[in-house]
């Protein structure tokens, strides 16, 4: 690290030597400082964007998990332990993803805080440098130029190399997280973790549950029709029965609709 700081300072000194008027290097460095400040701020924004994307995915996974839980419950009520097991198995697969996302989220949040502080610190230092630079330019004499201007750089080069490195690290971290986030988006899109937005076709568990619901619905209607046909002699009594038989069969069909929306 000491070496890195020295490399950076050596570069600053080289720029100093090259300039015709050493005062120009002060302006040049100040320009670089402002650029770095912009870069850090962009870094903060990038990390925040990644964090928000993770939050979105965490929500999606949670909805998916809740839905599978509901499906398992429903399947069990219909005595389909195999379906319930399948739903719960998928749910536990989701749980692993969720834990991973939570850890990444915490890491990104820490990164965001660090960069925000770094950006505030750099801003204060850049402002100090500007003041120092202006006063040096005002009182500049050729005789004291090299040393005075060299001194003006103390602290700021080190800060810049540190902040520059911090931004680099943050960018590396976000890049690797974005790759993983992309993989999860693909998983959700592919149906392995079925999309809860309802735009994609229903998953097989939901289809099976629906088939069973509509099956019993059909049976119910059939039974009602048969009863009507056979008892046509006493319509008043039968119609009352038919209404009563229809009501309970409707409920299981409506439930899944409500859960999926």
């Amino acid at each position: 690290m000491k070496r890195m700081g020295m490399v950076f300072r050596a570069k600053a000194n080289k720029a100093l030597d090259r300039a015709e008027d050493p005062r120009e290097t002060l302006d040049y460095s100040y320009q670089k400082q402002l650029e770095l400040l912009q870069k850090v701020r962009r870094g903060v924004a990038d990390v925040a964007t990644s964090r928000k994307r993770l939050e979105l995915q965490m929500n999606q996974l949670q909805q998916q998990s809740d839905k599978l839980q509901g499906q398992a419950q429903k399947a069990l009520e219909m005595n389909r332990e195999d379906l319930a097991r399948e739903a719960l198995t998928r749910r536990s697969g989701l749980h692993e993803q969720q834990t991973g996302l939570q850890q990444q989220h915490a890491a990104l949040q820490a990164e965001e805080e660090k960069l925000t502080t770094a950006s505030q610190r750099l801003q204060a230092k850049v402002e100090s440098f500007r003041t120092r630079k202006e006063s040096l330019k005002a009182t500049y004499t050729a005789a004291e130029a090299q040393t005075k201007i060299g001194e003006a750089f103390s602290g700021i080069s080190e800060e810049m190399s540190d902040v520059g490195l911090a931004v680099q690290r943050a960018e590396d971290k976000t890049a690797s997280m974005q790759a993983r986030a992309g993989a999860i988006d693909e998983l959700i899109a592919s149906g392995a973790l079925e999309d809860v937005s309802g735009t994609t076709p229903q998953d097989d568990i939901a289809l099976e549950l629906d088939r069973m619901s509509s099956g019993s619905e059909v049976e119910g209607e059939l039974a009602a029709m048969k009863a009507q046909l056979s008892g046509s002699g006493t319509p008043k009594e039968i119609s009352g029965e038919a209404v009563g038989a229809e009501a309970p069969t409707e409920t299981p069909e409506q439930k899944p609709e409500g859960e999926q929306s």
Binding site: M1, T117, Q120, K125, E127, G155, E158, D162
Partner: protein
């Protein structure tokens, strides 16, 4: 003496404060030698905690070079190994 923790900022220390840090620095150094990441992480965070707790923060607007620079808190042994001088992170 001015100490920078990379990514966090700078702190000022007097000589007695630095002595105490040297003990913690020795721990970090032996942890690096041991190659055990958990031991290293614990030793480094102990050293950094001491810097944060016992040093006086350098105001953000102050422009001053550090006498020594410590690696960021989430460093691995690999990160740090090549930064280490023979004397450890803290010279002397």
């Amino acid at each position: 003496m001015i100490i920078r923790i990379m990514g966090e900022g700078q702190w000022t220390f007097d000589d007695t404060g630095v002595e105490r840090l040297n003990e913690l620095d020795a721990k970090v150094e032996s942890a690096v030698d041991s190659g055990d990441d958990a031991t290293f992480a614990a030793a480094l965070s102990e050293l950094l905690d001491a810097v944060r707790a016992e040093g006086t923060p350098v105001p953000a607007e102050e422009l001053v070079d550090s006498d020594l620079i410590l690696p960021p808190s989430d460093s691995t042994i690999d990160d740090v190994q090549h930064l280490l001088a023979d004397d450890g992170l803290i010279p002397g």
